[in-house]
Each structure stands twice: as C-alpha cells, then as structure tokens.
Symmetry: C2
Subunit: 414 residues, 2 copies
Amino acid sequence: MKKKIVIIGGGFGGLNAAKELKGLDVEITLIDKTNHHLFQPLLYQVATAALSPGDIAFPIRAILKKQNNVKVILGEVTNIERESKKVFLQDDYYEYDYLIIAIGSRHSYFGNSEWEKNAPGLKTISDALRIRERILLSFEKAERYAERQSVDKYLTFVIVGGGPTGVELAGAIAEISKKTMLKNFRKIDPAKTRILLVEAADRILSTYDKDLSVKAKAHLEELGVSVLTNKMVKQINQESVLVDDDLIETSNIIWAAGNEVSKILKNLDTEFDKTGRVVVNKFCSLKEDDTIFVIGDAANYNYKNGSLPGIAPVALQQGKYVGKLIEQIIKGEKKLKPFNYFDKGSMATIGRAKAILQVGKFKLSGFLAWLAWSLVHIFFLITFRNKYKVMSEWIWYYISLRNGIRLITNRTKI
Amino acid sequence: MKKKIVIIGGGFGGLNAAKELKGLDVEITLIDKTNHHLFQPLLYQVATAALSPGDIAFPIRAILKKQNNVKVILGEVTNIERESKKVFLQDDYYEYDYLIIAIGSRHSYFGNSEWEKNAPGLKTISDALRIRERILLSFEKAERYAERQSVDKYLTFVIVGGGPTGVELAGAIAEISKKTMLKNFRKIDPAKTRILLVEAADRILSTYDKDLSVKAKAHLEELGVSVLTNKMVKQINQESVLVDDDLIETSNIIWAAGNEVSKILKNLDTEFDKTGRVVVNKFCSLKEDDTIFVIGDAANYNYKNGSLPGIAPVALQQGKYVGKLIEQIIKGEKKLKPFNYFDKGSMATIGRAKAILQVGKFKLSGFLAWLAWSLVHIFFLITFRNKYKVMSEWIWYYISLRNGIRLITNRTKI
C-alpha cells in the first residue's frame, strides 16, 4: 500500500513540503481553505491598492498540476484525530500515515475578538480586499459629506502594531493619500490625512537592531506618519479607538498586532505556547508522535533561546526539510538530521522607495535597501508569470506614481 | 451663477459627456454607484478568470482628476424630481440645470426575479467576481466529491441567452475547462464539461447577418459548446433548469438574456418602451423636458425603424453629442443638430482565437476577425496604463494558454 501523506495548508510550508515529495510513490492530499497559494509578504500592497490579487496569488492546483502524486482539495479542516490517524473536514475525512500541519496563523486580539469587525487584520486576499475597500470608501465618504459635517474621522487612519506589516501598511497608506490621490478630490485634501502607527513596545520593528528601528521611524515620519510607541490600545469602537487615555475618532482601524493559531490543533494533546503554537522537537514533529509535523507560523521551534519567527523563509525551509525527512523515513534511512535554519536576513519596506534590511550583523537602510527588497520579492515570487506581471506592474507604478487598482468591487452602500 | 450639470452614471455615456464639457465654466456633478468606470465589453473575461478587475476598470475620479469643473460622488440615486430639478440620493440631493441620465441597464428576468440568485447576470465587476467564483467552486466541488457521488451537475454549465455576452461566456468557459484546466484535477476530467447555450430565437447573435450566426454556432460547437435554439427556459432552481420539457441538472446557470432599466426613471412621467427605456427625441432629450437627456442603454433612440442597440459605441457617441449640445445651448447657439449615429460595426469573440465581425455589408469571421477584435478592444481601453497591462496580459495568455487569475477570493464554505 502506498503511504498516505496529508498536508494541511498550501502556504510556503505546505506547498514546499508537497514539492519536495515530487516523484515519490505516495498518495499526497493537500487541503487548503482557499484555492490559491498566496505570496503573503506582498499582501499589504493588495490592501493598499498597488497590486491586484492575481499578482500575488496563484491557484494551488495549477502550481502542482504536473505532480501526479498530489491531489488538491478545497476544504476546511474541522478536527484531527491522532488515534485513528484521520483529518476531518465538514463532511468527509482523509486518513494519513504522515501529517504535515502548515496552517499558518490568524491575528490575535488578545481576548478582545469583538474588536475584529472594526479593526480587521491582514492575512488573506479576502482580508486585503476588505481593508482596501474600507480605505477607499473612507475617502469617498469624506468627499461626499465634506460640505455638511466634519469629516476628520474619515481622514484618520490608525494602524495597531509596529511590526513589519504595520510599518508597511502605514507607509503605503501615506503614499496613496499624500501622493497618488492628489487632485482626485474637490472638497477634501487627501494630503491632510492623519496616519497613526501605535506600538505597545518602546520601538517599532523590535526584531531588528535598534538603529534600524530609529531609521524606520524617521522614514515613516518623513512620509507623514505619526509613530506612537509605549502606547496601548484599550478599546475599539466603530468610530473611535482609545489609545491609553486618548480617544481618537477614526473610521479606519487596521489590526497588525499579535498572532494566534487556530483552535483545531487543540485536540492534538501536546504542548502549546501561549499564542497556541505547537512546541515541536528538533525534527519539526510532535514530541509524542513522530508522524505529525507542524511547520511555519503554527509551530514553535526552539532557536537561540527563543523560537523561530513567523516569516516566509522559516515556513519554506521547514516545508522542504519535512518533505525530505518523510522521504528518508519511508526509504528506511536511519540517520535523520534535525532541522537547521539558515537565516537569510529580513527586510521591511517603508513607503515607495525606502526599506530596512538586516542579515546577521549586516544592516542597510534607505533606497538601496528598498532596491534589494524589490529584487528579492520579485524574484521569489513563485512562478515566472507572476514575476513578469509584478515586474511590469511595478515598473509602471514606479514611473507613474499612479495607483491603478483603486477599485471598490462590491456594490457598497455609502 | 454657474450652470449646474448633473450626470448619473460613469459608464461610456456619462464619462464621455463629462469629458466633452471640459473647460466649460460650469459645475458638473457625476454620480455613480461604483467608484470605477468599467470597460464592459471585456467583463466576460473577468467572469471567466482571464483578466483581473483592475485590467478593465479604472477609478472615475482618477480619470477626471485634471478636469476641475467635475466633482465625482460615490452614491446611489433614489429619485429624480422634474418639477424641483433635483436628483436625490439616500440622504442628500443635487440641483441641476441640465441632467444627463446614463444609468445603463440591468439584466431582466422577464418577471421571474427570483431566478437571479441561481442564475446571476453579468453587468458589474461584482457580478463578474460572483460568476467567476461559482464556476471555479463548481470544479472544486466536483473534484472533492467525485469519489462518493455523481458530480455531473457540477460539470454542467447552462448559459441562457445567445447574444454577444452569452456567446462570449460560453466560448470562454469552454476554453478554460477544456484547455486551461487540463491536468489540474485528479478525479475529474474538466474536458468532459458540458456547456449548453440556450436561445429562445431560431439563431444566436440575431443582430448579425444570418451567415455569421451560422459560423458562430459552428465555432462554438468546435469548442464543445452545445447550442440549443428555439428553446425556452421555463424554470430555474438551485440545481436544475427546465428548458422546454427537459430538466437539466446543473449548479451553474448564467443569465445573459434581456435587459431592463432601473425603476428610478419611473417618476420622469414620460414615454417608456417595454424594457423600461426612455423614448427620447432626436436630441436625446425627453419630449416633455429639454433639460433632461437620457443616453446609452437607458434610452430608446429611434433608428432605422427600430432603436439603437445597447452597446458601448452608441453610449459613447451619445455622451459626446450631449456634452457638446449642452455647451452649445449654454453659449446660446440657436442651430442645434440632432444626434447622428455613426455605425462602426460590431463584433463578438468565440473562444480564444475566433470572432465574428460586421460593419454594414462587410463581414468577417474566424482568426482574422479575432485579431481585429483584439486590436480594437485593446486600443479602445481608456487609459494607457490599462492598454499596457491588458496587452502584456494577453500576450502572455495567448502564448501560455494558462489562466492565471483563477482565484476564489472569498473564504467560501464548500
């Protein structure tokens, strides 16, 4: 009997695990809630109307169409049973010999899940389109009502969380409001848009060295973003956010603080960290069950007195590693090597032409870092087609300073 | 006092009227339900996942940003009052000296409006995304359930209406199922997809000469589409359609038959035809009120013992004409010329590389017609940016036969 491998999630981890298993005589089932693999590092550009969903997402079954040992299933996993070795969907189940859990994470509201509807987070294409629509509609409302009432709340944006996503969103919103949309309105001046980035710690981008945080803050302030550090969000309502004791009126709050892992893992009966990640061993598997692997954002993998961060390269490397490992196990190899993370550095963009970059001790900021960031992101995009499209899109975007994807695609009541 | 001109609708008619009034010392308010101008002739390509929304739609306020006499408002008109010369939105109103109504049409279900939820029509980006999602989800469901039950209904597509939209949809669905998606699935064979085009009249594309209808039918049949003429749709349910006495099981019904105009025009107290279009005089205005113009799909303009068809060139030419006419009226010119339609011909594509084309007596079909169709559509796209994008997209699409935009962007339960 062929061994059955089930992979949950078609992100960087799951997809690379599947690809690594190419050519092996096994039955792989890859299950995802969406039909596409998403290049998540560029998702903020969809949210801020610089790229279309089709530029950064690609149907999983198209990517894997030549790999005949994989079947792709669109569906949502509801439960995992370790005893019977089954993965349950709403109305069917799949048996596994080896299970790879690569489900990523959702944003965490730290117990205030009711904040989500007024402060959406950014993890999926659907999230990005929702945020895009809110941003664009807000300017439309301001223009429409400017003659009759104060429209400051429509022209105030609050981004909660000063990690890479928050920083990139704040920079991109500053660019579109203060540059791209100039002259588009008659009654309001989009350049007067207030953009606040709120961070609970004492500096933004705290995973980078301190001098890069300082530079990133300066770059953001040049773009007109107010960076508030050591500030806690206490309450979120439809038209305001309470930051420490200041009530800020705004109809645009975006959540970019904190992650948590889906509760479907709870039944695994193993060790979790406080954000719900599974604490895995050095082979990326459960301590109690070496047929179940957890990789990417859903895993807590011990690294340098802490754990590996939830970024694409970690998921990608773990995916490849686990794919290889399963192949070795099936072939009966005895000497299995633990996972070894190769740190290629990390980077974040600030607006249209600046970035920060850190690889070990090496640091860079400003335009050169942005250039490096652009090249890396363009060339890492999974398929040639997307590379070609994103590149032509970006070249045009950079030349023209226009933002062509500013579409509100739902028929929205205003 | 400056004259106030209100334009309802930012399609081909409204947008071109606004542009024609450029430089005139008037106050123009352009109101649209969406924030974008849509290149509707290519909408079926968004519905069938060949193009992204951003390729064929562009924010109205970006198009008009340099024309300072226009204010763009996102909002839905609820009523028009001729006596007080006011256009009402949900919670405000705009006064006009001249009113241009360019609201287009919606699809008509001939009194069976309950059919809409199971047989959506195609007029807006939102419609197109809904149809795209239904098509893609249907293949996903077929793949997921193929081992347990018959999935024929998921692999049967019924398009109602053999006009250009129906023909183009049928051809495009045939292309993606029988060519683009080959090898994407393990349990189903997308090449076995059944595609039925149902037309009540005795031939499809009845506005073209008969020999072109015959050729179009042959092209469709080559692609694997069954063309059913002289057939009436009697009933539509969630999983079936009754065509004459045949019950066809399908979860994919698309409506491309018939148009009707919004009921907000009812209060105009003038003459309507049976599809709700306003019967206008030779200056495109109401017979009873020469300050109100109705153009494009919402108007019935007498032409060759019938009326002008609801196609983009008519709306575009009427928009320009009315813009010019209002300028002449304001400047006090006495000799006003009636509208004169210049027939540039019409064309429709069938699949990826065939089309039919008719300009007066001149007729063409097959690949050369398709080439002509492609060039015309690419070069008529409103902005250079879109031209550039659609062209690069199409070149790639044509070379690769891939369909890259096959995204289901909502988190959909399956």
